[in-house]
């Protein structure tokens, strides 16, 4: 690599890493806007701590597991606490740290409004230092020169920017957390005597609207903007392909919004802002895997289907009485899985290649199996040891007050401020 190319690559990847870092602000805005005002600080604090703690954990352990020498194909064995290497490796480390923090922060939104703060931090650290990098090592780890590739990568599994590695892993972890943690109070009707007395109220659900939809929209815009770095930076070099990758990313996101809106219109549901934002995010998630390998029309098709998936995915979760506070599971797990499969269908080298599709399906299935099972064990054990779920009284008061002793909007939450001691 000549000097100029190295400088250009470094500049581009560092800039892309900065965009991915900015996505954390997008997650923070989106998630805090989608929860009640009494939990806004807590959600943002989780995003903030994700960035800090997960970065440290990934640098210390995760990067080595994911990108260290991978003789078995199952995990890396060196590069832990990386501190003595060449300048390009530092650049890669910076970029990958941002990815790891993104994977962990997906979980925070799904579990919002009822998970205790410190147990959540433990979960986030375990996800970014173990669950995410192990699967990452299978799909992205090693290199062909040293013949020490991750086993999925060796099979030909393609996930360019992390539909599975980042998003589906985060999404499946979120699903495990949602199951272990149970719904927020008041999300679903209790299935007991009332059902006997009044069958019409069976399985009744109550939506819990977010407190600030403009923040949700702003979060959506920031994420969309950051995604250009997320996918564009995954080239890991400044090359001419970046334009197409970012165009595909943008088209897929736009198609996700369009198809989500169209779906709502067809099924005669209100055209909700939250659904539009999640539809767009679904499109952006889905195109991660194939943005470098698809032509724009297929990127558009991938995003369109992802938008529909986010709508029906959310409805499926509601039917199953699973309370995902921000729709993270349908956006990241379901759309991410679809995006991984879409590479097998729409790869520009050969459309609808069944062999490639099988490998992609295997990878997506393994991602689900690995992330869900390990996260479920993690959440269950932590729930048993330290209790993940906030007390009812804390959930009533809001986690801002009970976990952090500060509130997001003091002018409107005077009663909390006047309460004196906790």
């Amino acid at each position: 690599m000549d000097e100029l190319q190295l400088i250009l690559n470094t500049l581009w990847v560092v800039f892309a890493a900065s965009l991915v870092f900015f996505m954390q602000a997008g997650f923070a805005m989106l998630e805090s806007g989608m929860v009640r005002s009494k939990n806004a600080v807590n959600v943002i604090m989780k995003n903030y701590i994700d960035m800090a703690f997960c970065s440290l954990a990934f640098w210390a352990v995760g990067y080595g597991l994911m990108f260290g020498a991978n003789p078995t194909g199952f995990f890396g064995t060196d590069h832990f606490v990386l501190h003595d290497t060449d300048s390009w490796s530092y650049t890669l480390l910076l970029f990958q740290i941002m990815f790891a923090a993104t994977a962990a922060t997906i979980v925070s939104g799904a579990l919002a409004e009822r998970i205790r703060y410190w147990p959540y931090i433990i979960c986030a650290i375990l996800i970014s230092s173990f669950i995410y990098p192990i699967f990452g090592s299978w799909a992205w780890g090693g290199d062909s020169e040293s013949h020490t590739m991750g086993w999925l990568k060796a099979l030909g599994f393609i996930d360019f920017a992390g539909s599975s590695v980042v998003h589906a892993i985060g999404g499946w972890c979120a699903l495990a957390g949602v199951i272990v943690l149970k719904p927020r109070l008041g999300r679903f009707d209790k299935a007991r005597a009332r059902v006997v007395q009044n069958p019409s109220k069976q399985n009744k659900q109550h939506s819990i609207p977010g407190h600030n939809l403009p923040l949700v929209a702003l979060g959506g815009f920031i994420l969309w903007f950051g995604w250009f770095g997320f996918n564009g930076g995954s080239t890991l070099e400044a090359n001419a392909n970046i334009g197409k990758i970012i165009l595909n990313t943008h088209l897929s996101g736009a198609a996700g919004v369009f198809s989500a809106m169209l779906t709502l219109f067809i099924i005669r549901k209100p055209l909700l802002l939250t659904s539009a934002v999640n539809g767009g995010l679904g499109g952006l998630v889905a195109i991660c895997a194939g943005c470098a390998y698809m032509t724009p029309p297929f990127a558009l098709l991938t995003g369109s289907i992802a938008g529909i998936i986010t709508i029906f995915g959310s409805r499926l979760l509601e039917k199953l009485r699973l309370d995902d506070a921000v729709g993270a599971v349908s956006v990241h797990a379901f759309a991410g899985t679809w995006g991984t499969l879409a590479v097998g269908l729409f790869h520009s080298e050969q459309l609808f290649n069944s062999e490639r599709l099988m490998i992609q399906a295997l990878g997506a299935g393994i991602a689900c199996l690995w992330a869900f099972s390990t996260a479920w064990v993690m959440f269950t054990l932590l729930n048993f040891i330290v209790k993940l779920r906030a007390k009812t009284s804390d959930e009533r008061k809001g986690l801002d007050y009970s976990e952090h002793f500060e509130v997001a909007y003091p002018e409107f939450q005077q009663d909390l401020l006047h309460s004196g001691k906790r």
Binding site: R36, K38, R184, L185, G186, R187, F188, D189, K190, A193, R194, Q197, H206, S207, I208, P209, K391, T392, S393, E395, R396, K397, D415, L416, H418, S419, G420
Partner: protein, 220 residues
């Protein structure tokens, strides 16, 4: 026109008085109390309204302390309200004769009253079910028998109006009860409505002088 009670109704009232006072007085004193009731109020149709004069006479007759008087009145009120045909009225207790109530207790009463007013206003049809849940829950609270009886009485009165006439419920039990109320209300009306209700209730309770010493937010 005077409304005369049937023999059955009279017997029932005497039994209630007997049961209400048996924990507070000796058996001889209970007999004296029944005799006093028969003498003064045997045919009184305004049953509950007679509690205060009856208790006052009883205290003089048996030479009881003022704190004992409050306890007797509380017991009688609670027991009388179990009667389906009882007229529900506020206890006629002069302010000076009340045992000083704790701030926690006053705020707790205010919270519950506000919740009931809200329920009656917006969700009247759900009140019977809510009452049933409350009664189930109260059994789980591990209260002292006396407090249990009082809380149960309050629940029975939900469809009318009610104040909890008892101080023998500690703060932890009140908080546990609040948690239960929140969960049930959330389940019935959703988190949005319940949050709004509890927020209103906190704001309302902040107006009580006692709230300066004890914040309602320690309960809510």
């Amino acid at each position: 026109m005077t409304l005369l009670l049937t023999h059955k109704e009279r017997i029932k009232r005497r039994q209630i008085i007997q049961h209400a006072l048996i924990d507070e007085l000796s058996s001889q004193q209970v007999e004296q109390a029944i005799a006093l009731w028969d003498t003064l109020f045997y045919d009184s149709p305004t049953f509950v309204a007679k509690i205060f004069p009856f208790t006052s006479k009883l205290v003089v007759e048996l030479n009881l302390s003022s704190s004992k008087k409050l306890k007797l009145m509380t017991r009688l009120m609670a027991s009388f309200n179990l009667l389906k045909d009882a007229v529900i009225v506020e206890p006629v207790v002069l302010k000076t004769q009340r045992k000083p109530m704790t701030d926690v207790y006053i705020i707790f009463n205010a919270i519950l009253s506000e919740i009931i007013v809200y329920l009656k206003q917006y969700y009247a049809e759900d009140i019977p079910l809510f009452k049933q849940y409350l009664i189930e829950e109260i059994a789980q609270l591990a209260l002292k028998p006396k407090a249990y009886q009082e809380l149960l009485t309050w629940c029975q009165r939900i469809e009318n109006e009610g104040y909890l006439i008892h101080q023998d419920v500690n703060k932890d039990q009140m908080v546990a009860f609040m948690d239960f109320l929140y969960e049930e209300l959330c389940s019935m009306f959703g988190a949005k409505q319940t949050d709004a209700l509890f927020s209103t209730v906190v704001n309302h309770c902040e107006k009580y002088p006692e709230a300066k010493k004890f914040s309602p937010h320690n309960l809510i």
